[in-house]
Subunit: 167 residues, 2 copies
Amino acid sequence: MANESSIRARVVVQQCLHAKLQVKLSEAKSGAEWVEISRGMVIYVCFFKGATEDIIPKMVNGLLNMKICETDSGKYTSVLELPGSVLIVPQATLGGKPKGKGMQYHGNIGKEDGQRLYASFVAHCENELSLSCKCSEAGTEVKHGTYGNRQILKLDTNGPYTHLMEF
Amino acid sequence: MANESSIRARVVVQQCLHAKLQVKLSEAKSGAEWVEISRGMVIYVCFFKGATEDIIPKMVNGLLNMKICETDSGKYTSVLELPGSVLIVPQATLGGKPKGKGMQYHGNIGKEDGQRLYASFVAHCENELSLSCKCSEAGTEVKHGTYGNRQILKLDTNGPYTHLMEF
């Protein structure tokens, strides 16, 4: 794992049977909007100051090919091989560092840069799934939250198998 | 945050409106058993080799007093002050270290030591909540998973506010 001072991105990954994320709050004229996936992987992602576009392919490659998804027979494979869907949740709180009884987020990337890297991360994930024959045949999908919003999430797992990965 | 080689425990924390964890699989003669909490905090915990009993009070104190729970007015307070309930999930996968396309868990604590520290962690959390007037009055509770089991989890959030803390 990367040394703290050199960490550019922190990711927490959980497995799911079903996950649902609100992407638009309910308003007077319209109800809330949600995206959802069935079996697959929830990726919570946070970028730090100094993160640049060049880490995105490495991150996406590492995450989508890492054998942390359980098959029906109890073995472990990647989300691309499962094949499963992916729900990406922007999660700035992951950049928090305890200071007394509060959390500080001084290491987090600025809003514009974060938004740009997040969009690129989503696009790279979409591209990887579209290039995978298994994913295309099974119709698995990439869904994602809106950067900067509250991430209202409902998660149903057969064991989250929570993993931390830093880049 | 602690240097990697000196990390004794890794914790991921999420806020919830409701969380439900299976603690006993369904068997021929009996249905599955679940524990659940309403509003509060889900704590996923993993111990590393070298972790000892003396880190438990510091961990519990840090986690239960950290201002990462959102109040109705949108401010942040601790789970003890909210007051909220706590669901503790043993999560050995958090100790994983990427090696090629797989995860290795060589740094994880052995089963017996892990079980003992986990039980102590749960007991310290229960004690802290029982000592809190706000928690006692509101009837908030500590629930927890069974160490070494599959952690079948269902989570409902108003934003998970995922945080990482290492000790």
